[in-house]
């Protein structure tokens, strides 16, 4: 099937950090339209997605999720294996629904990896929590663009975003762009973003106890990205995605 949607441009906010040259090469083959997920009222669904290795190094995953009243959707993402990788998630929350997301972006060399979310609190009493951790080396670019929209009558909304990036090299780039659009007045919307480097004082402290720098870095980075998966309740599933993430971390050094 040929994609008839025009190629996005940088003027489109959701694509401003994208690798559009890479995208142009495969645009005709990108599946049209998102994968749709509906979580029925009162139910709980958990899904883990490791960005697949795809054609010409470009990998696009696009989800459109509806979480019905009182339902919970937990989504855990790992973006690492692509020259240009993009995961976009559009979520619609009904009354009392909950969206939990944890994402890790692990890139090196010239990779461009991004997670783009749009969470729509269209009804009252819904909650959402998004945690993204990026570790970037070389000339990699890792981006999180997270939009939270709260409709006028969606009172008692509680939405939070925590975005942290760790740059292993000064040549790597992290982008964090929270975007809040709130029309209701009785809501809690929290967001925090930091970009940093490995704590040098901690590295020396660990060396002073006998840890070689490679192991000290590994311990700190493991702990850093663990935040993204701590909300995954199924132990076996968490171990599976964490093992993939740790293998990817080893490849960054």
């Amino acid at each position: 099937m040929t994609n008839v949607i025009p190629l996005p441009t940088r003027k489109d906010e959701a694509w401003r950090y994208a690798d559009l040259d890479a995208l142009a090469r495969v645009w005709g083959d990108v599946p049209q339209g998102p994968e749709r997920i509906i979580v029925p009222a009162g139910e709980t669904l958990s899904k883990q997605i490791v960005l697949p290795v795809a054609m010409s190094g470009v990998s696009i995953t696009d989800l459109d999720v509806v979480i019905e009243a009182g339902a919970t959707f937990a989504l855990h993402l790992l973006a690492t294996d692509a020259d240009y990788g993009r995961m976009s998630v559009n979520v619609l929350l009904h009354e009392g629904a909950h969206f939990e997301m944890g994402g890790a972006i692990l890139g090196h060399a010239d990779q461009t990896l991004e997670i783009v979310t749009s969470v729509n609190h269209a009804h009252p009493n819904a909650t959402s929590n998004q945690v993204v951790r990026s570790v970037l080396a070389g000339h990699a670019t890792g981006s999180f663009l997270g939009k939270v929209a709260v409709a006028r009558h969606a009172q008692k909304t509680d939405a939070s975003q925590s975005v942290k990036a760790m740059l292993l090299d000064r040549t790597a780039t992290a982008n964090a762009k929270p975007e809040l659009e709130i029309y209701a007045d009785d809501v809690k919307c929290a967001h925090g973003a930091t970009v940093g480097e490995l704590d040098k004082a901690a590295l020396f402290y660990m060396a002073a106890r006998g840890l070689p720098p490679s192991i000290a870095r590994k311990l700190m980075l493991q702990a850093f990205i663990a935040d993204a998966f701590v909300s995954l309740e199924d132990d076996a599933a968490r171990e599976t995605i964490e093992t993939r993430a740790l293998a990817a971390l080893e490849g960054l050094a």
Binding site: D199, K200, A201, A202, F204, Y205, M206, A207, A208, R209, G210, L211, P212, P213, I215, L219, M220, Q222, A223, F224, A226, D227
Partner: protein, 246 residues
């Protein structure tokens, strides 16, 4: 065990140690006292190999090895323990995991077998008990949410587990209440007061030295040792102050 000769060190462009010499033999406990800014912590960090602390002249040999040529983790594996004045927090990394990895890295570097999980837990329980620290605290991330006193006690638990030859303790007594000070003092004695070990205590106060009796006391001022004596020198300093004595 440790022989420091004419050590000069600078931090950035500022010279701090200006010809410091000191010899510590096995079985000895030394105390270094001195006014703020004398270079006490710089001495500890320089011997520990902290990046940014550059030796410009002089030497330090540890058990016949050129200490200054070793990387910080190699100095630890050689048997040097640095007790921090401000122990660092490491979010997300548990004390037990940190210490087991540290100890086993040291053991591997020395060609020894790493400890199994069970052997390590037994050792950690014993040393935590010695310092009256709850095992639950050892399961928590390193120093995160610990009070100042708990951090210092944790340093001593770490010292007990790692079992070094030479401990450089940088103001381990600061921030401790009276009970914690006694526990830490007893911990230092039971872990380190042995014929094949040595300690260098960096302190401002006599009260730690009442508990851990030094064989030698040195006054550090202006980046050099300006006076050395026995335990009585610390008492003299307490009474008369640095200016009169040094």
């Amino acid at each position: 065990m440790l022989k420091i000769e004419n050590l000069h060190a600078q931090v950035g462009e500022t010279s701090i140690l200006k010809g410091l010499s000191l010899t510590i033999n096995a079985g000895e406990i030394h105390a270094i006292m001195g006014p703020n800014g004398a270079g006490k912590s710089t001495l500890a960090y320089t011997l520990g190999g902290r990046p940014g602390y550059d030796v410009t002249e002089g030497s330090a040999t540890f058990d016949g090895q050129d200490l200054l040529a070793l990387e910080p983790h190699e100095r630890a594996a050689a048997g040097l323990f640095l007790g921090f004045q401000y122990p660092v927090e490491i979010p997300g990394v548990s004390n037990l995991q940190f210490l087991r990895e540290s100890l086993n890295s040291q053991r591997r570097a020395r060609g020894e077998e790493p400890l199994s999980g069970a052997e390590f837990i037994r050792l950690a329980k014993e040393k935590a008990g010695l310092l009256k620290m709850d095992m639950d605290m050892l399961k928590r991330p390193v120093n995160v949410g610990f009070s100042g006193g708990e951090k210092k006690r944790n340093e001593m638990v770490q010292m007990g587990i790692i079992d070094p030859k030479l401990a450089l303790l940088d103001e381990t007594d600061s921030g401790l209440d009276i009970d914690a000070l006694r526990i830490v003092g007893e911990g230092i004695n039971s872990i380190m007061r042995k014929p094949d070990k040595a300690v260098l205590l960096i302190t401002h106060y006599q009260r730690l030295l009442d508990l851990v009796k030094p064989d030698f006391v040195h006054v550090l001022a202006g980046g050099r040792i300006v006076r050395s004596g026995g335990a009585e020198l610390a008492l003299e300093l307490e009474e008369q102050g640095y200016e009169a004595v040094a």
